[in-house]
Symmetry: C2
DNA sequence: TAATTACCTACCAAGTCAATAGGTAATAGG
DNA sequence: CCTATTACCTATTGACTTGGTAGGTAATTA
């Protein structure tokens, strides 16, 4: 299941895109509009900045802004930052321990297919589709 | 993410179907073949019995068997027993608290669509496809 | 009646998640 | 230059879930 962090991250990205400005958007305002604790959002936005999906600046009129046009962001790249994994099962997750039954496992191909289905959906979905 | 319980449940169902017999299949043997702790499998198989996907009997030559042909089982009905939810996000999960922003939420339709994608895949996939 | 098997209740350690607390550093406007 | 504003940093907490174990009782058949 995708956590609140992931859902919030997406909403933050959409919120910034919606402002449709080249100015920095303050987190305080995003938190108010989205009705999410600003303190909590800080931990989420940090991940977005670290991954270069957002750029932030301090001080008066500071805040965050996108680094590329909304149509160039896909959901997968946003969500993978906040989620331990986006795989539906450990079997197809690169971060999980490898299963030694993988080669003989009758269910593995199905999990692999399902994983593909989800990944493709998320990679195809672009941020501008939410505006 | 689908838990080990769910993955094991599926493997148990396949294992029983594979034996291709009308006799009861003992959990001891399933555990050995699948290399899963029998004790742990007990908790999983109980859910399958409670939901009438399997029927079990005690005593010598006891064990579990299917109640219908493998082609009549779909993955969704099996996995939903072991997972708290099969929804990718709380927003589209009937068991989770309702989000009051649902009606105005820009992301909700996308989550709904993703949920549908996954559910449909799992409901279409039948047990006999693994034999 | 004895072996075999399912079935039942309880428990535990580790990990994850959602969220809060209390700061420090950078920047722009007056 | 100073002060308000804003991002950024580190640590902590309680609740919950997961994966798995322990130690039994009840049912069935040879």
């Amino acid at each position: 299941m995708i956590s609140t962090k992931g859902r919030y991250a997406l909403r933050v990205m959409i919120d910034i895109a919606e402002q449709n400005t080249n100015n920095y958007v303050a987190l305080k305002d995003i938190a108010k509009r989205q009705d999410i604790s600003k303190k909590y959002l800080e931990t989420i936005v940090k991940k977005l900045v670290d991954a270069n999906l957002l750029v932030g600046t301090s001080g008066k009129n500071g805040g965050y802004k996108l680094v590329k046009s909304a149509s160039k962001y896909n959901l997968y790249e946003i969500l993978k930052l906040t989620e331990r994994t986006l795989s539906p099962v450990a079997c197809v997750d690169s971060k999980s321990a490898k299963c030694k039954r993988k080669k003989m496992c009758k269910t593995y191909p199905m999990w692999y297919e399902l994983n593909n289905l989800i990944s493709k959906y998320l990679k195809k979905k672009k941020l501008n589709e939410f505006l």
